[in-house]
Symmetry: C2
DNA sequence: TCAATTTAGTTGCAATTGTGACGATCTATT
DNA sequence: AATAGATCGTCACAATTGCAACTAAATTGA
C-alpha cells in the first residue's frame, strides 16, 4: 500500500513552468537596465529595438516582428514619439500606413542600448559556460522549430 | 564607406528575447488547455498545481514555490475556494496563517490536469526529438543555476 | 509587560493590458 | 463606378496586475 504516493506532477520539472520562470528571471534583470537608465517600458524597448534593426517599419510590422499586440505597439510608438526618438512619415501610396523611423536621438539611444544588451547577453552566456551556452542555444532553436511549425 | 552597416542588435538572436518568445508560445498553448477545459486562469492553475504537489501549504508558501506575487495567490485561492476546489484550515498555533488544502473535487481536477500537463509536455518533447530534449533540459538547468546564484 | 517590529493575508487604487468598435483608407468583385 | 470586404491605427472600456496601506496576530526586546 502506498501510504504516500508520488505527486502526479512536479512543477519544478515541468518544462513550460521552467521555461517561464527562466524567461521571467532573465527578462526582469535585463528590463532593470533599460528601465533604470532610460526609463523605457518593455514594449517601448522592443519597439525601439525592432525599429533600430530594420530602419523603417509600420506599426503593424513592428508588432509582427516583435510579437506584440497592436495596441501595445501603438502606445509604445506614441511614447517614443513623445520623447522625440521616433517620427512618423506619411506613406503617399497608402495613407492608412505610417512609416516609422527613429530620429537621430532615438538611434543614439538604440545604439547605446544595443551595447548594453550585448554586454548583458555576454555576461549571461559567460556564466553558463561554453557547454551551457551551446545547449541553451540548441534547445531554443529546437523549441523555435516546434512552435513555428505548430503555430497554424 | 559602409553605406549600410549591420544593425547593432539582431533581436531574433538575442537570448532574452528568444527565451521570452519561446516561453510565451509554450505557455499560451498550454494555458489554452486548462482555460478551455476547466476555466482556470494561470495563477489559479499554478496555485492548484502547487497545492496538489505539496498537500498542505499557506498562501505565502504557494507564492514562494510558484514565484507568484502574494496578491495573485490571494485572488487565485479565493477563486479556487469559490468553486470548492480548496478549503482553508485555521492554524491553531498561529492564527495569522491559513493552511490550504485541496478538496476531493479539487484533487480530482488536479489529477486530471496533471495528466493533461504530462501529455502536453510529452508531445512537446517528442517534437523536439531526443537530441533537442536533452539540449533544452541542459540549457534550462544551466540558466536555473545562473539566476539562482545571481538572485541576491 | 507592553510598545515596537515583523509577518500573513486582504483590499483599494493606480497602472498596464487586451477586446471590440470605430473612422479612414485601400482592394476586390460585380 | 459602386458596393462589399479587408486592413491600418486609435480609442473607450473592461479585465488583470502590482503597489501600498491596512487589519490581525505573533515576536522581539527594553
Amino acid at each position: 500500500m502506498d501510504k504516500q504516493s508520488a505527486p502526479p506532477l512536479l512543477l519544478e520539472e515541468f518544462i513550460p513552468y521552467r521555461l517561464n520562470k527562466a524567461a521571467e528571471a532573465v527578462s526582469q534583470r535585463f528590463a532593470g537596465l533599460y528601465r533604470d537608465q532610460y526609463g523605457l517600458t518593455r514594449p517601448e524597448w522592443r519597439s525601439l529595438a525592432t525599429l533600430g534593426q530594420f530602419g523603417v517599419l509600420t506599426a503593424t510590422a513592428i508588432g509582427a516582428h516583435s510579437s506584440m499586440h497592436k495596441t501595445k505597439v501603438s502606445r509604445a510608438v506614441f511614447a517614443l514619439e513623445k520623447r522625440h526618438w521616433l517620427r512618423r512619415m506619411r506613406d503617399e501610396t497608402d495613407r492608412r500606413i505610417e512609416n516609422l523611423e527613429l530620429t537621430p536621438a532615438g538611434r543614439k539611444a538604440y545604439v547605446e542600448l544595443a551595447k548594453v544588451a550585448h554586454a548583458f547577453e555576454a555576461e549571461l552566456l559567460a556564466s553558463l559556460g561554453p557547454r551551457g551556452e551551446t545547449e541553451l542555444k540548441a534547445g531554443l532553436a529546437a523549441l523555435e522549430g516546434y512552435y513555428r511549425k505548430a503555430k497554424c
